[in-house]
Structure formats: C-alpha cells, structure tokens
C-alpha cells in the first residue's frame, strides 16, 4: 500500500504538480484530520433511540464558533451559508441551546464541544432528574406514592441531554492543537468582517459517525438475526460486561443453587457510569468513590475475617451496568432465582450498598432505607439492627451516620432490584439526604477535580500515586466504618473492631489509578500480564460498553480485589495459570481463583518477581436477562443496546464558492464542446489542411 502510494506521489512530483520538495498528496493539501474525536453514539432501548448520528458519508457544514446563546440566531436564521457546524465551549452545552439546535436541525450539520480545563461551578448533569425511573422497585404496585421520584428528585440538576436523540453528529474535542487550528481557520475565513458576509472559500468541517442501528432494540436485534440478508452485518450489541464478586470465605462456586447453612451479607457498589460522550465516563463520584470504598473495606477485613470465625459470609459485589437500568444487579438476582448462581436469594441475609460517598466537605453519611418493606416488622428489626451496627461502627471515627428524617424512597440503587424480588433488610449508604450532592452526576465533569483529588504542584507521577489526599482520608474513614459495621453484622465481636482500619495509602493509590492514570508502577505490579496492555495514562472510562471490549474498570477491580483480599501462595506459574496449587490438585479451583501477577522488581534488578495470588474473586456475566430471554420489549429488565458503526472521524477543510464550482464546470463544458467542433472541422477538412503540393496523398488524417 505504502509503496504504491509512494509511486503515485513520485509521479505527481515527476510529471507536474508539486512545488518544491513537499511531496504531499493532494488529500493533505485539502484536509486536516482531527486526531482526538470522541463522538456521542446511538443507544437503543425497547422503545426509543438516543444519542447522535451523521449521514453515511459524514455531515459537512461551514464552521461557526458559537460565542453566546444569542449568537444562535446566526446559525438558525441569519447565516447565509447553512448548514453550519457549530463549535462551542462546554459552558454553552446546555439543554436550551441543544434543544434549539435540535429543532433547527436543517440548518445544523453538527456540533463540536470543546472540553474545558475546569468544571462549571454551577454544576451540570446530562442525566435525567430521576435516574432509572422505571426499572427500580417503586411502581404503581409498590409504594405508588414514592414512584417516579414523586417525593424527591434525586438529580435536580439533570437536564436529560444524554437521553435525547439528535439527528446530527456531536463530538467532543480536547482544547489542544486541533481546536486551535479550527479556531484559526474560523478566524481566517469565516468571521464576518465589518458586518458584511465572509467571502469564499469558507472553512468547513466534516464529522462522520454513522450509526447502523435504528428505531429500537427489538428492531436492531431482529436485524442482527436476519440471516438471509445480503450483508450479514450486526447492527447493535447489548450493553454488557461482568459483575465481580468475592465471598469473605471460600464457597464452592461450581455448585449452583441453595447453600445449606449459609447466610450471606451482600455488600455492593456500582462499577459503571457514563456521560454524554461514550468514551468519556470519568464517574469519579458516581462510581469510583463507592467502589474504592468497598475495595478498601474488603482490604481492611481481610485479616479479621480470616482470624475470627464469623457466622455470616460477607459477599463483596460489584455490579456493572447499573446506570443503564440495573443490568448487573438484575442479572445476579435473575441468576439467584433461577439457581444459576452459587447462592440463592434464601442465602441472602441482608444487603448493604455503598453509593456515592465522596463526602463533599461534609462528614455526614446518610443511611437510606426502604419504607415499604419496613412495614414488615421482622424486616424492620433487621434494618434497625444494621443501622445500629453502622452507628456503633462509626463511633469514634471522623464520620457521622444519619437517617433521613422523613419518609422517602431509596435513591437509585442496586438494592432496589433485590427488593423487586422479595423484601430484604438493607441499607444504602450515600453522602446526600434527599438529592445528590454530586453536581456533575454522570457527566464528563464527574472527575478527579469534582472529587477534590488534588495534588500539590510539582509532584512526579510516582509521588502523586503515593500522596494521601484529604479525599483519600475521608474515603478511608468511610471504608473503616463500612468494614467495622460488616464485621459486627457478620457476627464479629464488637471489641475487636478497633483493629479494623482501612489503609489510606491504598485508597490514595486506587484514587490515582481510577481518576488520574491507570498505568502506574502500582497497577503494573498487581495486574496480570495478559491484561497489562489495557492500562493507559488516562482517566478510566466507566462506560459499560459492549461485551466484545474488555473494560478497564472490570479488569482493575478484578485484580485489585484479588490482591487486597487474597493471599500470595507458593505455586508455580504453570499451576497458577491452570487454577491449581499442585499437580494433582482438583479441588481448589472450585473454591479459589488464582492470578499470576508480575509483582515488584527487587532493587538493582529489572526482572519482576512474579507471584501467584489466591483469592475468592469470581465474576459472572452482567447482561440484561432480557437478552437471555430474547424478550426485547420487556419493561421489567434493561434493554439497552449500543449501535455499531463503521467509522468515526472528523476533518476540516475549505469549501469553494458555488460560483467557482459552476465556473469550472462551465469552462470544462466549453472546452469540450469547442474541441469537439474544432476537431470535427479539422478532420473533415484534413485533406485540404494537410496536403502540400509535393506529396498530396500522405495526409496525416
């Protein structure tokens, strides 16, 4: 390929048209490809499609840098050269602006949003005001007064942009060279001078994000399965990933169904978040705060649960896809009901969920409970007991735990899916009372800054990794509270709880790994070799995505949980990979999971000291049961699918005026016609034209 194009370039140079030594191909003279393009993609559920899409070949529009909302008039009415490609700062990326653009979409070719360097102070959430409104437990049959966020809107800042459908592409861009170039191009060519319209050529941009799926999940899943069609293209895939879970003591995981004499406390956190743009899902508060707390608590409980013989097993659980109508939790409940899980619902004693616990400048945790199931006195008693345990665990720590004073439903939480199956005692820990304290719920601003993970200037990455921030300290406090409460709840002695303490350094490192860079010296030590390639230097994207792609949060949590709760065992690499402790060991794989991790390099050596980690970490598919039942119109389960696409790209270039194009065509036709006429005359009179007196017969024509 390269060789061939080389030749073309050579010939371009040799024959004619390239000045000097810049052997650029013509394409490079016309287009500037944008390097960093993050699109908003199309998602579908049982009835709707959301997100954005371009036409098949990409949408082209003249660039317009939007300076203020009033400036929209130019795009929607006054501008002479529609359609326009609107470039805007993220401060203008609001519902009112986007809805105006959506309604005037015949004059809008697309939108590019420039990522800001700092978060908007007033908050921004593209999610709805009532997340997962229809798939939680509350409905007309279960606490009708509490359904549809009647008592409180959990996400008051939510503007619902993520759930709108746009028929033009919307891309996100970093504020870097590309955006600089776009602004320059706009300034040079498109800015109206002295009130008059700008002259051609104008600067334009093309954004391509054509989506294959359309209408709804039933439609696209049907089209996936139509096999006699010419093009056997899949058009959409279910959103899915993995749930990760680890019991505090080994359970036989190959035997499914009810486990006799087993009582389990499920302690869970969610593993995913999202934002308007699919590849940006920082989810610092909405996902990372909870799961880091849970990991730290599990770490704190490692020794305590091994030393003390507890009555109940603690079941650390990470649910994936909770943002999209509780994919992970509904799948696990479904499996437990169908006896396709190592334990069933009868084994579950109680549920403790860790939600958003970023603790923005307060130290107050709120314990949310379900008022409907608490009407049952035995449940109420168990819940009170759990709350009491949490309160006694928090005693002497820097956090206070409070119950919401009024009767209100549970916030959006995985626990609701358990309650849908049957009443359970359970508590959801959050850092808010009646609405999210997170101002950036599931937006691209839900990042390290919003969680206040800030480092002193001039720290090297290595120093940042090990720097204990205030956020880390407060998360560690929460983790300690959770760990101690779990210990008591599981039947441990209250006198022993003072020895249970979450490690602040671990929390700091996890914060750094999830929010700043997943590729650091610590993760390189503990992530298995085959998964190291997935680590990168960016913020982890918590968007669940489709099953085909290994998702980084899942990988990280898997290895973190294994390293923090498991033990290093003296097993060869070969046996470790085959899930056994010795050559003739056939039992361990039912109880344990073995990871071979690279480990640290000893001083004066570059060779890492790998070792085998034995843990009870397991994982199971987190896919909505709707896709197992092949019922895509259900309202019971999540039906979210992600459309496939062929190409995501953006490029800028100049467009010529219509007049010049027509002039070229006119000249072309003129040349063609006149040469046809001329040659006709010449060839018909060739005998006369090319006959000299001397040799009359040898006419050329």
């Amino acid at each position: 390929m390269d060789l061939l194009s080389n030749k073309w370039i050579v010939y371009l140079a040799l024959c004619l048209f390239v000045a000097g030594i810049n052997c650029n191909s013509v394409e490079n003279k016309i287009y500037v490809k944008l390097n960093y393009t993050v699109p908003c993609v199309r998602l579908l559920n049982s009835t709707h499609q959301i997100g954005c899409q371009s036409s098949l070949s990409g949408d082209v529009g003249v660039l317009h840098v939007l300076e203020s909302e009033e400036n929209l008039d130019f795009v929607l009415r006054n501008g002479r050269n529609p359609p326009y490609m609107v470039i805007m700062e993220s401060s203008l990326f609001t519902r009112s602006v986007m809805m105006k653009l959506k309604n005037g979409s015949s004059r809008v070719a697309g939108v590019a949003v420039v990522e800001p360097t700092s978060n908007p102070p007033d908050g921004f959430s593209p999610h709805t005001r009532c997340p997962n409104e229809n798939t939680g437990v509350y409905s007309e049959n279960y606490g009708p007064g509490l359904a549809h966020c009647n008592t409180t809107k959990w996400n008051p800042l939510g503007n619902g942009l993520s759930y709108e459908e746009f028929d033009f592409p919307i891309f996100s861009m970093k504020d870097d060279n590309d955006t600089q170039l776009i602004r320059q191009c706009y300034m040079d060519h498109n800015r109206p001078m002295n009130g008059s319209d700008p002259q051609y050529p104008l600067c334009a941009m093309q954004l391509s994000s054509h989506m294959s799926a359309v209408t709804s999940t039933p439609t696209c899943m049907r089209r996936n399965s139509i096999s006699f069609s010419m093009s056997n293209d899949m058009v959409c895939d279910p959103l899915s990933d993995q749930n990760i879970w680890a019991p505090s003591k080994p359970l036989n995981t190959t035997q499914n169904g009810h486990k006799a004499n087993e009582s389990v406390i499920i302690v869970s956190a969610r593993l995913d978040s999202r934002s308007f743009f699919s590849e940006i899902g920082p989810g610092a508060e909405s996902a990372a705060s909870g799961l880091i707390t849970l990991l730290a608590a599990a770490h704190a409980l490692r020794n305590a649960t091994q030393d003390a013989q507890l009555d109940r097993t603690i079941f650390y659980t990470f649910f994936h896809g909770e943002t999209f109508d509780y994919i992970g939790s509904s799948k696990m409940v479904y499996d437990m009901e169908k006896n396709q899980f190592p334990i069933d619902l009868d084994n579950v004693h109680s549920v403790l969920e860790i939600g958003q616990v970023g603790l923005h400048s307060s130290s107050n945790l709120w314990l949310h409970t379900d008022p409907v199931s608490m009407r049952n006195s035995s449940i109420q008693e168990e819940v009170k007991n759990l709350i009491a345990n949490l309160k006694s665990a928090a005693a002497g720590l820097n956090v206070s735990v409070t119950e919401p004073g009024v009767t209100q439903p549970l916030p959006p939480s995985s626990f609701q899916r358990f309650l849908r199956a049957r009443p359970f005692p359970g508590v959801v820990i959050e850092d808010y009372n009646s609405s999210f304290s997170n101002k950036y719920f599931q937006s691209m601003f839900d990042n390290a800054d919003s969680l206040n993970v800030l480092y002193p200037p001039n720290l090297t990455p290595e120093e940042q990794l090990n720097h204990v921030t205030n956020t880390a300290k407060s998360l560690a406090e929460v983790a300690t509270t959770v760990a101690r409460a779990l210990f008591i709840q599981a039947g441990g002695e209250k006198t022993q709880i003072s020895s249970i303490k979450a490690d602040e350094l671990m929390v700091s490192r996890m914060l750094y790994s999830f929010l700043i860079s997943s590729n650091n010296s610590w993760t390189q030590e503990i992530v298995g070799l085959k998964d190291v390639v997935h680590l990168n230097n960016n913020t982890v994207n918590f968007y669940i995505s489709v099953e085909q792609q290994a998702s980084l949060p899942t990988i990280l949590v898997k290895y973190l949980l294994a390293n923090l709760t498991g033990t290093a065992v003296n097993v060869t690499q070969e046996n470790c990979k085959n899930q056994k402790e010795s050559e003739d060991d056939k039992e361990s794989k039912h109880l344990y999971n073995y990871f071979w991790v690279p480990g640290a390099a000893p001083p004066n050596s570059t060779e890492r000291d790998g070792f085998c980690v034995r843990s009870t970490v397991h994982w199971s598919r987190a896919i909505s049961p709707a896709f197992l039942m092949e019922n895509y119109t259900t309202s019971e389960y999540s039906t979210w699918t992600e459309s496939r696409w062929k190409e995501i790209k953006g490029r800028i270039f100049l467009v010529a005026s219509h007049d010049l194009e027509m002039l070229t065509l006119g000249v072309g036709i003129g040349v063609l016609l006149s040469s046809l006429l001329l040659t006709y005359i010449m060839s018909s009179k060739a005998d006369i034209l090319f006959s000299s007196g001397r040799e009359p017969t040898s006419a050329t024509y």
Partner: protein, 101 residues
C-alpha cells in the same frame, strides 16, 4: 440472431415461444418479444404469418403492461410502508440499508 435472415415461419415459432415462455412468470420475455418483433408485426409489408405475430406481440404487450402495473404498485407500497410494517417489513427485505428505519 438476425431476424432478417430468418424465414417467416420460424419467426412465428420464435414469437410464439417467447409469448408462451412469458407465462412462466418471466415478463422480461414478453418485453423482448414486444421490442424484437414490433417491426415485424406492425411495420413490415404484410405476409401470411404477420397476423399471428401481431396477436402474440399484442398479448405480450398486454401481459407486460399488467406486470409493470403490478410491480410498480407493489414497489411503491413497499417503499412507502416498509418502515411502518416493522417486523414484516424486515422479513420481506433482502437488504436493509444500515441506519434507516
């Protein structure tokens, strides 16, 4: 094949074959018949077999017209309502363009 070189009887046989062949749901045979034998049937000076050829060509034209009407109607209906028919529309389609309802 050059019709000019063919004797009249064979022209008739050929025309009849095409006419009859069209009944096997092959409207294009009728189209060929009409185009091919139009000159023979209507423009040439009269010859014995011409009347029969005329009938075949006329009938072929009629059949062709019928097919054209039916197909045009069906294609119009199909294009217009495919998206609304949903499942049925998808199963009726051989290719579904990506990203369209």
């Amino acid at each position: 094949m050059n019709l000019e070189r063919l004797p009249n009887e064979e022209k008739l046989t050929l025309c009849r074959k095409y006419y009859l062949g069209g009944f096997a749901l092959l409207p294009f045979l009728w189209l060929v018949n009409v185009v091919w034998f139009f000159k023979e049937a209507f423009l040439k000076p009269p010859f014995t077999e011409q009347t029969q050829i005329k009938t075949y060509v006329k009938r072929s034209a009629l059949g062709l017209l019928f097919w054209v009407t039916v197909l045009t109607t069906w294609i119009t209906i199909y294009q217009h309502f495919r998206a609304q028919w949903g499942e049925v529309g998808d199963y009726l389609s051989f290719t579904i363009p990506l990203g369209t309802p």
